[in-house]
Each structure stands twice: as structure tokens, then as C-alpha cells.
């Protein structure tokens, strides 16, 4: 005797958090049943495997029906078919849009297109995240990207409003969208040590300071693109390294201020010109899309790696960067103080965040 049909429908939709997680993780019903059995639930409840199978199927079916609504979370709130308490609705949405660190590092900065979707197989193998889960996460990125891509207003705010995510998750999505839109390279081997958190942190600062939205809150695409004018202006910074006098003066100001304060002072002194050239050149090249994409690679190559090879402690890096930025204000011949600050404040925070093993 086999059950052809087996359903349970509650007036309040039952949500089992554990099964939801298994479903989100992309396990098939049978795998999920297996995992649940291993969790010891049968012993706890005295249920049989058949009961567990039926229960799991039922939850999976419910989630499958809810998935369509989860694609547009406001619909989940207004729909009438599933009566779900608000706290549960929030949980369903938050978990559905949550993503795996391993997965996001793979696709961060990649174009959210069909081509990338085809690579999901490899990503799945590489990260150990099931293909199904990869697809869901990828589709979430893509969906969010499409909705907020051309919207006015704050990126994270828009995401929060249209997907009802928590503040934290909305900001993470903002980072994902920002990276995808600017196609920053994050996959290079030397960037592998960076966590999503590091990159999201940088993205947030860049959104705050380097986008058109930083100066005008009423423009289109205000938060997703970098401010073209700003990038153009950054060329002006080149004088800091091109003008030999200016460079020397800058160096002496920094060295005077830091003498005796850095454990790596000699190395700093020796490397100052290289480091400064690196940082300023990065700024002046940002008008080229290709160089924008390589921003993080450049930061690591031109600044982080040299410091790291000389074993700068983080605190020394901080002291150096503070002094390096501040000293420019004392360079009388340099006229782009505001521009310098807009560039350097963000860059300094990013570098500090990125400076670890």
C-alpha cells in the first residue's frame, strides 16, 4: 500500500526552520530525510521514518509554493493564501536571501549573466554548496540587481524596501550589486585571502564617497556607478608623484612626523616613494574601466604586498596612512585638498581593512 497523495494544510502555515534550512541548502527530499534521521529526531519524538518522509515532503511542497512569493517579498506580506505570522514571514525572507560566504566570493564582481550561471556547476563543486542552492543564491543576486539597478535613492535602502531584508543583509546586497555593476576583479589568487566582509566594507565606503550619490542624492544610478567626474578629477593627483619636489617634501613631512613612532621606520623611509607612487597611480588610472576592475588587485600589489613583505604591523600601517593623508594638507603647492580627502579617506579605510593575512 503506497500513499499516492499525502498532504497537510494548516490554517496557519507550519514552517519548520530545520527543514527550511535543508531546503535552502538544496538537499533533495531523500537527503533531507537522511540528515534529519541523523540528527536524532526519530529518537526524540518516537516518529517513524515514514512519518519523517511525509513531513519532509510536505514542508518541501510548502516551500516550493512559497518560493514564487519569496521572489517578490512584498507579495508574501499581502498574499492571502498562506497565513503566516509576521515574524515567520521575516524569517522566511531573511533566510531565503541569505547567502554562503564561499559562494558569494566566487561570483562577487562577476557579471550576473547567463554565462556566469553556466559556471555554477564548477562553483558548486569548488565550494561544496549544492548546485540548487547556488542557483537560488545566484538568482537572488540577479533579481535584486535587476530591481534596484536603475533606481534613485540609496542602494541599500532600495533593496531593503523592495526585498524587506534586514539592515545588515540589505547592505550586503548593496555590496554585491555594487561589485557586479562595476565588475571589480575579486577572484585573482592574491585576492583570495579577502573575505566577503572585507570587500563589502570597501564597497560600502566607496558607495558612500565615490558615487554620484555622495554629492547629489537626486541622480539616477546614484549608488551603483562610480562618480565619473570624480574619477576624471583624480588625474589631478598625479602631481603628487610627478612633481619631484612635491614628492620629496611629502616624504620628509611624513618621515619627520613618524620618526621614532614606527617599528618599521627604515623600511617605510626606503619604500615611501614606491608606495606613494602606487597609491597615486591607482587614482589617476581609474578613468579606464579596465583599471577600475583591477582596483583591488592593484591595491594589494602596490601597497599591501610591499608592506606585508616588510612585516609592517597593522598599527604602523594605520599611523603611516594617517600621516600620509594628513601631510598633503601641508603641501602648499598642492591645490586639490578636497579631492585628495575624498579619495584618501575611503582608500585608507579600505586598505586598513584589507591589511591582514
Amino acid at each position: 500500500m503506497t500513499n499516492e497523495l499525502d498532504i497537510f494544510v494548516g490554517n496557519t502555515t507550519l514552517i519548520d526552520e530545520d527543514v527550511y534550512r535543508l531546503w535552502l541548502d538544496g538537499y533533495s527530499v531523500n537527503d533531507a530525510v537522511g540528515l534529519r534521521v541523523r540528527s536524532g529526531i526519530l529518537e526524540q519524538t518516537g516518529a517513524t521514518a515514514g512519518v519523517l518522509q511525509s513531513d519532509t515532503m510536505d514542508h518541501y511542497r510548502t516551500f516550493h509554493m512559497l518560493e514564487r512569493l519569496l521572489h517578490t517579498p512584498p507579495k508574501l506580506l499581502h498574499q492571502l493564501v498562506f497565513q503566516i505570522p509576521p515574524s515567520r514571514q521575516a524569517l522566511l525572507i531573511e533566510r531565503y536571501y541569505a547567502f554562503d560566504e564561499a559562494f558569494v566570493r566566487e561570483v562577487l564582481g562577476k557579471k550576473l549573466s547567463k554565462g556566469t550561471k553556466k559556471d555554477l556547476d564548477d562553483i558548486s563543486t569548488k565550494t561544496g554548496v549544492t548546485l540548487k542552492s547556488c542557483r537560488r543564491q545566484f538568482d537572488n543576486f540577479k533579481r535584486v540587481f535587476k530591481v534596484v539597478e536603475e533606481m534613485r535613492g540609496s542602494l541599500a535602502g532600495n533593496i531593503q524596501q523592495h526585498f524587506l531584508l534586514s539592515d545588515r543583509l540589505a547592505r550586503d546586497y548593496a555590496a554585491v550589486v555594487f561589485f557586479a555593476n562595476n565588475r571589480f576583479e575579486t577572484g585573482k589568487k592574491k585576492l583570495q585571502y579577502l573575505t566577503f566582509g572585507d570587500l563589502a566594507f570597501c564597497a560600502e565606503l566607496m558607495i558612500q564617497n565615490w558615487t554620484p550619490g555622495a554629492v547629489d542624492s537626486q541622480v539616477d544610478d546614484m549608488d551603483v556607478d562610480l562618480d565619473k567626474e570624480f574619477l576624471q578629477d583624480l588625474k589631478e593627483l598625479k602631481v603628487l608623484v610627478a612633481d619631484k619636489d612635491l614628492l620629496d617634501l611629502h616624504k620628509s613631512l611624513v618621515c619627520t612626523a613618524l620618526r621614532g613612532k614606527l617599528s618599521v621606520f627604515p623600511e617605510m623611509e626606503a619604500n615611501f616613494k614606491n608606495l606613494s607612487r602606487g597609491l597615486v597611480n591607482i587614482a589617476s588610472k581609474l578613468t579606464h574601466t579596465k583599471d577600475v576592475r583591477d582596483l583591488f588587485v592593484d591595491l594589494v600589489e602596490k601597497f599591501i604586498e610591499p608592506c606585508r613583505s616588510d612585516r609592517w604591523p597593522l598599527n604602523d600601517v594605520r599611523l603611516f596612512l594617517n600621516q600620509y593623508s594628513a601631510s598633503v594638507h601641508s603641501l602648499d603647492g598642492f591645490r586639490h585638498q578636497a579631492l585628495w580627502d575624498r579619495y584618501m579617506v575611503t582608500l585608507r579605510s579600505c586598505l586598513l581593512r584589507m591589511y591582514h593575512d
Binding site: 516518529a47 509554493m65 498562506f82
Partner: protein
């Protein structure tokens, strides 16, 4: 033209994309009522159109208002081709037709399509202006209130309970009309939905007319069903109980719950004053003049009337002086006649109620049921559905005569059902034979039933379990003993009923769900032969179901069943029987004997050993169950039980005669009436199987209880969390060589596994109780069994339970002591079920009533009345027993109110906006129903031609049931309500054709839309009430007790 219906279409949202090119929709709406149609403008290119239409006004007859649903169709405008329908909304405007219900229907309704399901929502406002033409009013039946609830709705009081109303209408089923061959499935489904909606409206109107004829104003326990007879047509039938209801003032309605029990207790003496007169009137003989005794000035009439009371009220009254039985016979009959006059005028003294105002139910006789196998033929003239009427009349007549045989003049907890397979139809009816207090049934007893009942009831605590029939002439030899509560009247050893546990009944421990499950193979046959085969099988099925129930009951160590519902389902090649009931241990009934196993070959050693092993297992199970359900009745030595009974000489004679009578009929003892040794003979493998199956029923996991009645006996501290659900399983019987045993096992497993799944799913609610567990079995195809369960899980507070049981015990102890005192003081007084004496009344009265009563019990015990033989073709009776009701005052108050009290604290937890609760119960734990908004009665068809794409049969049905819930909730919310009570899924007909990738399902649900207020919120309100308004409230509390 007495009504103006006004409709406004406000907006839509979440519409489906109808234009692939633009990914948008150009929607407009057609509003149709009767033959008039209005249209809104087209709202171009939007999935969230804002029509904001004018008010569409329909000027219509009130007859149409009752019959017709408002039909709203949402369409996509298409310039070049025909407009595409997006979906429809049917709105039943009946709730707007009576003044106390909803005044406006306004809200978001799911737009439903029979092929695609829900496709977006539409915001509609509906109003009705009724012209205040009372004459017209009378011709239609606008204004008659309908309730699905099978008890007096919470914010009303019953002035008169008139009795049974029934009606049926028939029509051709559109699915089987010739035109169906050329129209789309959608058109056919819609035609069917509309027709059933129309027929329901018509049926309700006709029933309403009957109610008005009876001078009632409401139908309670309204149950409407439809029979899909296939080729031969479509029958929509309904039964209900006509009542005259009075709305309690809102404060009175809910304040009693706020009174602590102790308060109520204290108040009793103060109420002595008003009570006496009600008391005197309460017992009213059927005479009209009693009506007026409500005025306080009459209070002095009390003493004299108390004897009248007995005379008129109790069947046994007449025997007052008659010392011994036999001469009393005709006398008693006479009296019964007198008391019954109210009922006898009626064709069918049936009541669809399952819970009653205290005092209404005097005695319970036992379950009566009747079945009849009919061959369907085409209904030739839909306007004269005489055949169907005659069928039902026949069955009801049979029920009536069964009840008579049980010495009862009425049937309560009455219901009717059908099972159809091809052209064979089994009609079933069942109920509980009972003796009722005629006062509630009288025209003109205006003072209402509420006040008098309490006092009358007090001495009669255990009354309802006392036998209403005469023990010398019992239809089957039940073993009678003296009531374990009052020790004066006879009670049977077990009691089966179809009603809920009366609120004043005392039970020990907790109850549990008991099911008997049975399959019988039958040969495939045609027409007559088939019908004959089925009728031949029926008695055996009834018998076995009954045996199983009895065995399981004993195995649980319990002695009474409530809410018994036996369903016999007919299929092509088998019959299925499923009986569900809630077992309890009634303190008034004797402790059940164990089960003994006897082997056929007592000399075989190993066999003997096996038997004794089985026996031990059974004994262990009984002991375990007693512990599980906390059944620990005080051990009462036999002598004590017998001793308080006066006239010992006579008693012994009676006992002897009793045993004689059982000896005489011992061969007919199909009811297993033996008291101590319930012997199971294992004489073949079948019997072995039976014993095994007895032991395979697994008790629910700890923290879980289940019952199929409204509330779980023994649990009364509900917290506010409820979860109503429907679960459906369809199983395919795989093996071709089916035998009855394998079939039984399969069916048993199916049900047990289903229950296990429910326990597992709801484990987060522990401790909780599944209430109103309602199983329905159908056999959609040859090898398919479909089981549908609807129930509600309610959480309760384990901690408080301990306390309440304690107080309960204390109370009953108090009670017992009172009883004893009375016994000592008035040794001759009998614990009459007749609502005679009042424990709080002066001693004098006791004396009087005592004198008038003396000797009665003996007389009654001797009385020989007719009874039923157990097995009859197509007709079965069942058992009876009795209960002790130590009615203490608090107990007499409806249980539910007691619950409300205890639940009040944690009640406030969740009151989210927009949440609509659904429950099969008549109440919401932790809350008070403040308004009934009208009946919800909806019928939906869903069909698919892409079954696989919709997730197979499970996906299809899961989505459909979720949608049905959503539509019910939306309608309730639009009426301004926040809950549906007495919700029932009356039909869930599922058909599939996986090969064609098709499936179809029909669902019919109903319930009462209500507004409830959380008790915690209520307390705030009531605290703010001025003292003045507290006054009625207190009396309300009184009334409720």
C-alpha cells in the same frame, strides 16, 4: 422590490500577466446579480488596477437576495479577440440580510479561477438597503439567522428550541448535461459552482420559511450537504434545529467569564430571591400559564409548585405514590405522554445540537442509527424531489421508533449522511435517544431556559446517565447498577452517545480518541444485486464496529463514548466502516470490567500459554492506559454502592429480576453486556487478528491528547494558540489478492500513520490536544482509499491543569458531602433526574419533593418499556449507560466559560492584524465571541490539465486546500470578522487521471463568521464599565450557570 443591493469595485492587485507582449493586463470587472450585469471601465496596462467604480445598484426581490450569489468576474480586455476571463468571486450576501450580523461586506477577495486557482485579489464593497416591509419580510425568510454551531451560540440565549427543520432540493448536475460535451471544463465548473450556490441559497430560504412558520428566528446546528448522484442528479439537503434566540446584552454575554468561580458560588444565595419563581416556572408543566411566573412576586408559589414540578417534568413523577413497578406502567406512560406533548406534535423530535443549555437534557438513552441502501434513478422532475424526501422520511421514522424503544421521546446530536458509489447510495442517520426537559420546547415559556435550569439540575447531577427505559424490558441486556454518584437510580455499564460531554458531567481523568476501523470486501455487482449485497453486509459491519469500539473502550479503562460518529462508505468492491468517538470515564458509571481471552482448546498447553501471554498483555495495556489517562476512580466497595438505597427488600427483588431478564435474552446479547468478564474468544485466526489489532493502536506521544468532541474531557486550561488543519491521504491498495484481513490492516495502518504524522507535525505545540478530530473516508476508485482529517490543535497549560483538577476534586468532594447530608436527612428522597429538588432550597421543600417522589425510583426501575433489538437490517441501535453528575454550581456553568477564566492570562499573546482564525469548535480559547456575522457556506471546484506541472496530486490538492482556506478567511475578514467557528469541510471529492495529466477536486466548507475579543482585552473593557452595567452582567453569570 424590497431590497437594493449596492456594489462598488475599488481596486485589484497582484493580477496575473494576461498580455505577454507588455507583461501587463488591461483589466475590467463585470458585476452580475440575477440577470443584471454592470461593467467597470477598463484599467489599462496594470497589474494593480484602481477602478474606483461608481456604486452599481441592483433593485431586487428579497427572494433573489437570498438565493442568488453576487458574481464578480474580472476580465482582460482584448480589442481584437474575445476578452479573457481572469477569474471570479462569488459573494454570498445573506449575512447582510439580518440586522444583527454584518452591515457591510468590504475587503480583498481572492480572484478564483477553477483552472488556475487564485489569480490576484480584488477589493469590493457591498451593501444592502432592505426596505422595512415586514410583510414582505415574512414571505421570504430574510432575517432568520443561521448557525453551523451545534450548540446555542455564545452570545445568545435560547428562549425556545422548536426542533427539527429539513429540506432538500434537487437538480440536474451540469457536469452530466449534454451541453457539457461541447463546453470548456471552466464553463462546466463555473456552471456547477453557480448552481450549487443557487441551490444552497434556495435551500436556506426554504428552511428559513419553515422556521418562521414555527415562530422561530434562527437555525442552529445547520448542516447542509450535497450529494453528487452523477447521472441521476445533484441533491442539496440540509437539516437544522429551529430556535428562538435572544441576544444577550453584550456585557452579560461575556462577563460571566470574568467572574471567578468562587464568586459565582457566593452569589448563589443572593439569587435565592429571584430564583424561586423561576424555579416554579421552570418546572412548568406544558401549561401556558407557567409562562408568566417569572415575576418576582410569584416567588411564594415555589413550594407548592415544586411537587408539580416533579409531576410534570419527570417521567417517573407519576409513580410518586405507586410503591412498586407494574401498575406504574401505564401511569408512567401517561405522564410521559404529558411531558412529551410538546415533542409529539412534531413529526420528528430531532435536534441537531450536540451541546445543550443545562437542564435541557434529562436522560440519555443511547445511540440510535438507521441506514438504508437505495438505488439511484434519474430525478425526473426537479421541482418535486419526492423520492429523496420519502427516503429520508423513512429513515427518520425508523430513528424515531428506535428512540421510542429506548424509552426516549427525542433524538439529540442528530445527523444524516450519504455514501454514493455508482448507482448505489447508502443513506445513514444517527443520533442519541434522549429524554428532554419540555420547558425549552414550549411556546410561550418566555422566561427562558436559563435561570430555572440551574436549580433543577442540581439534584439531578447524574441524571442524564440514568436509564430512561425500564429495566425489565430492555431491548438488550445491559447490566444495570446503581448510579455511582447518587446510588439511587440505575445506570448501564457503558454509555454511547453522539453528543458532546454535557458540561455538568463529572469525569475522572482525561478522555481519548477511540476509533474502530473496518473493511469488508464485496463482489462487484450491478444494481439490485449490488444493493442487496450491501444491505446484507451492513449489519455485520455495524456489529463488528461496535465490538471493536467496546473492546477499545475497555482497553482504555473507560466506560462511555461521546461524539460517536460511524461512517460506512461504499466502494466498487468493498465497504469501509470508520467509527470515531471520545472515550471518557464517567464517575456515575461502574468501572469497566477487563477483557478476558478464552481459547477454543483449553487443553493444549502451549496454546494455553499463548493465551495467558495475550491476556497479560491486555491487562498491562489496560493498566498502562489507566495511568496515561489518569483514571483512578475511588475504590468503592460494592456494599456501599448498594447500601444507601432505601427499601432493601424491594431492591433485592429488583436485582433478581434484572438478572433474570438478562438470562432470558442471553443469546441475543450482541452488545457484550457482561459486566466483569468481557470475553474474547479466540477461535480462529480472525479473532487472533482482532486481538492483535486491539493492541497495535499506539497511544499519542506524551504531551498529546486527542478527542473528536468539542473539548477534551479533563482538560480545561486552554491557552490561546490554535492550529486548525486538514490532512488528506490517498492510498493505493497494491496487492490484487485482497483479503479482509490485509485490507483491515492496510486501513488501520493508514489511519494510525496519519495520526502519527499529525502528532509529529504539531510537536512544537506540546502540550496540546487535538480536538474535534474528524475523519472522513471515501473510496474514489477501485483500489484507492482516501482519508481526510480536519481537526484543531489547542495548546494548554500543563501547570494549571494540576491546580484545576485539584479544585475539581475538592468541589466534587464538597458536593458529595452535600449529597450525603441530604441522604441522611431525607432517606426517602430519591435522586430524581427530574430536576426536582434544589440543594440550596429550604429543607421543607426537600421534604415535599421527597414525599412526592418516594417510591418513584423503584417504580421506574421496574418499569418495563420497549427496547430495540440490536440488529436489524439496515438499522442499528446501540448502547446506553449513565453518568454521574455531581452538579456543583460552578460546574453547572458551561465548561467553556470555566476555560475562559483560566485561559485569560496568556491569551493576549497574538492579535496580529488581518489574522483570521479557523476552528471546528464553537469557541475560541482565551477569547469571547462578541458577534456572529453570518454563515459561511462555500463550494469550490478546481480542475487541472497539467497535473505534473502543478506538483502532482499532492501539489494540486495542497494548493487547492490552501486556497479554500484563503477564500474562507477573505470572506470572513470582509464581513468584519476575525474567526470562523464550527468550521467543517463537508466534502472533499478528489478525482484524478494521472495518465491524462488531469485531476479535479470539489470542496464544500461551512462555518460561522464571528468577531471575537481576547479575554485579556475584555477584562480591560469590563473594568472600565460602570457598576450599573455590571448588574445585568452578574445575572448573566447566573444564567450561565
Amino acid at each position: 422590490m424590497p431590497g437594493k443591493l449596492k456594489v462598488k469595485i475599488v481596486a485589484g492587485r497582484h493580477l496575473p500577466v494576461m498580455d505577454r507582449a507588455s507583461d501587463l493586463t488591461d483589466a475590467f470587472v463585470e458585476v452580475k446579480f440575477g440577470n443584471t450585469t454592470f461593467k467597470t471601465d477598463v484599467y489599462n496596462k496594470s497589474l494593480n488596477p484602481q477602478w474606483n467604480s461608481e456604486w452599481f445598484k441592483f433593485e431586487v426581490d428579497d427572494e433573489d437576495l437570498q438565493d442568488e450569489p453576487l458574481q464578480i468576474t474580472v476580465l482582460d480586455h482584448d480589442t481584437y479577440s474575445a476578452n479573457d476571463a481572469i477569474g471570479k468571486v462569488y459573494i454570498d450576501i445573506d449575512p447582510l440580510l439580518y440586522s444583527e450580523a454584518a452591515t457591510v461586506i468590504s475587503g480583498w477577495f481572492p480572484i478564483y479561477d477553477t483552472i488556475h486557482g487564485i489569480r490576484g485579489e480584488i477589493n469590493v464593497v457591498v451593501k444592502v438597503d432592505l426596505f422595512n416591509d415586514l410583510n414582505r419580510f415574512r414571505q421570504s425568510s430574510c432575517g432568520v439567522k443561521f448557525f453551523c454551531t451545534t450548540s446555542i451560540p455564545k452570545c445568545y440565549q435560547a428562549v425556545i428550541i422548536h426542533g427539527f427543520v429539513e429540506e432538500l432540493v434537487v437538480n440536474e448536475d451540469p457536469e452530466y448535461q449534454w451541453i457539457d460535451r461541447i463546453r470548456t471544463p471552466r464553463a462546466s465548473n463555473e456552471a456547477r459552482q453557480r448552481l450549487i450556490s443557487l441551490m444552497s441559497g434556495e435551500l436556506q430560504r426554504k428552511i428559513g420559511l419553515k422556521v418562521l412558520e414555527m415562530r422561530g428566528n434562527a437555525v442552529v446546528g445547520y448542516l447542509q450537504c450535497f450529494d453528487l448522484e452523477g447521472e441521476s442528479g445533484l441533491v442539496v439537503r440540509a437539516i437544522g434545529t429551529a430556535c428562538t434566540l435572544d441576544k444577550l446584552s453584550s456585557t452579560a454575554a461575556f462577563l460571566p467569564a470574568c467572574n471567578s468561580p468562587s464568586k459565582e458560588m457566593k452569589e448563589i444565595p443572593f439569587n435565592e430571591d429571584p430564583n424561586p419563581n423561576t424555579h416554579s416556572s421552570g418546572p412548568s408543566t406544558p401549561l401556558k400559564n407557567q409562562t408568566y411566573s417569572f415575576s418576582p412576586s410569584k416567588s411564594y408559589s415555589r413550594q407548592s409548585s415544586s411537587s408539580d414540578t416533579d409531576l410534570s417534568l419527570t417521567p417517573k413523577t407519576g409513580m410518586g405514590s405507586g410503591s412498586a413497578g407494574k401498575e406504574g406502567g401505564p401511569f408512567k406512560a401517561l405522564l410521559r405522554q404529558q411531558t412529551q406533548s410538546a415533542l409529539e406534535q412534531r413529526e420528528f423530535p430531532f435536534f441537531t445540537l450536540t451541546a445543550f443549555p443545562p437542564g435541557f437534557l434529562v436522560h440519555v438513552g443511547g445511540v440510535v442509527s438507521a441506514r438504508s441502501v437505495k438505488l439511484l434513478d434519474r430525478i425526473h422532475n426537479p421541482d418535486e424531489p419526492e423520492t429523496r424526501d420519502a427516503w429520508w422520511a423513512e429513515i427518520r421514522q425508523e430513528i424515531k421508533s428506535h428512540a421510542k424503544a429506548l424509552g426516549c421521546h427525542a433524538v439529540v446530536g442528530y445527523s444524516e449522511s450519504t455514501s454514493i458509489c455508482e448507482e448505489v447510495c447508502i443513506l445513514s442517520a444517527s443520533g442519541t435517544a434522549a429524554v428532554l426537559n419540555p420547558r425549552f420546547l414550549q411556546d410561550g415559556t418566555v422566561e427562558g431556559c436559563l435561570e430555572p435550569r440551574q436549580e433543577e439540575n442540581l439534584p439531578a447531577g447524574c441524571g442524564f446517565c440514568h436509564i430512561p427505559y425500564d429495566e425489565l424490558n430492555m431491548p438488550f441486556p445491559a447490566h444495570l447498577t446503581y448510579c455511582y454518584s447518587c446510588r439511587k437510580q440505575k445506570v448501564p455499564d457503558v454509555l454511547f452517545t453522539t453528543i458532546d460531554l454535557p458540561t455538568d458531567a463529572t469525569v475522572i481523568g482525561k478522555g481519548c480518541l477511540i476509533q474502530a476501523r473496518l473493511c469488508r470486501l464485496k463482489k462487484k455487482a450491478q444494481a439490485e444485486a449490488n444493493a442487496t449485497a450491501i444491505s446484507n453486509l451492513l449489519p455485520f459491519m455495524e456489529y463488528e464496529v461496535h465490538t471493536q469500539l467496546m473492546n477499545k473502550l475497555k482497553l482504555k479503562g473507560m466506560n462511555a463514548l461521546f461524539g460517536l460518529r460511524i461512517q460506512i462508505t461504499v466502494g466498487e468492491n468493498m465497504l469501509m466502516g470508520l467509527a470515531s468517538a471520545t472515550g471518557v470515564y464517567l464517575t456515575a458509571l461502574p468501572m469497566p470490567g477487563g477483557i478476558q481471552i478464552a481459547g477454543k482448546t483449553p487443553n493444549d498447553g502451549s496454546y494455553e500459554q499463548h493465551i495467558s501471554h495475550m491476556q497479560k498483555k491486555i491487562n498491562d495495556t489496560i493498566a498502562k492506559n489507566k495511568e496515561l489517562y489518569e483514571i483512578n476512580p475511588p475504590e468503592i466497595p460494592e456494599e456501599i454502592i448498594g447500601s444507601p438505597i432505601p427499601e432493601p427488600r424491594q431492591r433485592s427483588r429488583l436485582l433478581r429480576s434484572q438478572s433474570e431478564s438478562s438470562d432470558e435474552v442471553i443469546e441475543l446479547d450482541l452488545s457484550h453486556g457482561k459486566k466483569d468478564a468481557f470475553v474474547l474468544e479466540i477461535d480462529d485466526t480472525d479473532a487472533m487478528e482482532d486481538v492483535h489489532s486491539l493492541l497495535t493502536d499506539v497511544p499519542p506521544p506524551s504531551g498529546f491528547y486527542s478527542c473528536n468532541t468539542e473539548i477534551m474531557p479533563g482538560i480545561n486550561n486552554w491557552t490561546s494558540e490554535i492550529q486548525m488543519f486538514t490532512s488528506v491521504r490517498v492510498s493505493r491498495l497494491s496487492n490484487i489478492n485482497l483479503t479482509n484481513q490485509t485490507l483491515n490492516k492496510n486501513f488501520n495502518d493508514l489511519c494510525e500513520n496519519l495520526l502519527k504524522s499529525l502528532y509529529f507535525k504539531l510537536r512544537s505545540m506540546i502540550p496540546c490536544c487535538l480536538c474535534h478530530v474528524n475523519f472522513t473516508v471515501s473510496l474514489p476508485e477501485d483500489e484507492l482509499i482516501q482519508v481526510t482529517v480536519t481537526a484543531v490543535a489547542i495548546t494548554f497549560d500543563k501547570h494549571q491543569a494540576v491546580q484545576t483538577t485539584k479544585t475539581h476534586v475538592e468541589k466534587s468532594l464538597q458536593r458529595a458531602s452535600t449529597d450525603n447530608e441530604e441522604l441522611l436527612q431525607f432517606p426517602l428522597e430519591l435522586c430524581t433526574d427530574s430536576l426536582a429538588s434544589h440543594p440550596f432550597s429550604p429543607a421543607k421543600e426537600h421534604l415535599e419533593s421527597a414525599s412526592s417522589n418516594s417510591g418513584i425510583p423503584a417504580a421506574q426501575r421496574d418499569r418495563c418499556n420497549s427496547w430495540i433489538e440490536l440488529i436489524k437490517l439496515k438499522a442499528q441501535t446501540i448502547r446506553r449507560g449513565s453518568i454521574k453528575t455531581t452538579v456543583s454550581v460552578e460546574k453547572a456553568s458551561p465548561l467553556t466559560e470555566g476555560h475562559f477564566r483560566q485561559r485569560s492570562a496568556p491569551a493576549c499573546a497574538n492579535s496580529t492584524v488581518g489574522v483570521v482564525k479557523m476552528t471546528p469548535l464553537s469557541f475560541i480559547p482565551g477569547a469571547k465571541i462578541t458577534k456572529y456575522l453570518g454563515i459561511i457556506n462555500m463550494f469550490f471546484i478546481r480542475e487541472t490539465t497539467s497535473l505534473r506541472e502543478e506538483g502532482g496530486v499532492s501539489g494540486f490538492l495542497h494548493a487547492f486546500i490552501a486556497e479554500v482556506f484563503a477564500m474562507v478567511r477573505a470572506h470572513v475578514a470582509a464581513l468584519g470578522g476575525n474567526a470562523v467557528v464550527s468550521y467543517i469541510m463537508k466534502q472533499c471529492v478528489f478525482m484524478e487521471n494521472p495518465n491524462k495529466n488531469q485531476a479535479q477536486c470539489l470542496i464544500n466548507v461551512s462555518g460561522d463568521a464571528v468577531i471575537f475579543v481576547r479575554e485579556s482585552e475584555l477584562e480591560i473593557i469590563s473594568a472600565q464599565q460602570p457598576v450599573a452595567s455590571c448588574q445585568p452582567a452578574c445575572s448573566g453569570g447566573e444564567i450561565a450557570t
